[in-house]
């Protein structure tokens, strides 16, 4: 099943975690439970005032916490003007 994600190894991906954080980095590896290794990671904190980007280096995210893994299109990213983006933070996942 994780063969779907194997195709993304080496590419820039965006990961949304269960606590609502958005993290972007180069997918270096993953395993059957979707533990993820991200290199050159950047956390994007969206606020109604703008976007805050923090460089975080090498990340190992435990699969329990991964909600979404998305492929990032580099060209689209380059065209994005982060200074104009304003957004609400994603809420954390709540199990009711």
């Amino acid at each position: 099943m994780s063969a779907m994600l194997d195709a993304l190894v080496g590419n820039k991906v965006e990961i949304v975690t269960n606590d609502g954080r958005v993290v972007v980095g180069i997918l270096k590896g993953l395993d059957q439970v979707v533990n993820v290794v991200l290199a050159n990671t950047e956390e994007r904190v969206f606020t109604p005032e703008g976007v805050d980007r923090q460089a975080l280096g090498l990340y190992l995210i435990r699969g329990d916490n991964v909600a979404v893994v998305g492929a990032v299109d580099e060209n689209t990213e380059l065209g994005m003007d982060f200074s104009t983006i304003k957004a609400q933070q994603l809420p954390p996942i709540v199990h009711d």
């Binding site: 993953l30 290794v37 290199a39 975080l56 280096g57 916490n65």
Partner: protein, 141 residues
């Protein structure tokens, strides 16, 4: 590359572990296992709000409580070296075992690599046949 092999390579390196409850543990990795359980040394634990700090010589973190780990960038370059070193060690171990097996069947050994493999297969087949015979006797009972 596999996340858990990255972790294994990161032994002795400093790292930051954030738990599901928001606490962060900064320390050097002593050991880890397949469940991501960690043993850390010289640890500073920071509470979720960043207001409280604890220092411990050693701590054990259960893998299931981990949210993520931040690891020094250089560790990812070390993983490839560790893999080639491990594969070489495994290859040497296999070569030593094969040499020991073929010493009994000298003819196989003289032929070279191909002959060695043939001798190994023959020995394996004989062993398997003996096993099958034994179990058949068991079923009859």
């Amino acid at each position: 590359m596999l996340p858990l092999s990255l972790l294994k390579t990161a032994v002795n390196h400093p790292m930051l572990v954030e738990l599901k409850n928001g606490e962060t543990y900064n320390g050097h990795l002593v050991n880890c296992d397949n469940w991501m359980n960690l043993q850390l040394r010289e640890v500073i634990c920071t509470s979720r709000d960043g207001d409280h700090f604890w220092r411990m010589n050693e701590c054990y973190v259960r893998g299931s409580t981990i949210k993520y780990l931040r690891i020094p960038d250089e560790v990812i370059d070390m993983v490839k070296e560790e893999n080639t070193a491990r594969m070489k060690a495994a290859k040497n171990r296999n070569r030593d075992q094969n040499n020991r097996n073929n010493r009994g069947g000298g003819r196989g050994g003289n032929r070279g690599a191909g002959g060695g493999r043939g001798g190994g297969r023959g020995g394996g087949g004989g062993g398997r046949g003996g096993g099958r015979g034994g179990s058949r006797g068991g079923y009859n009972n």
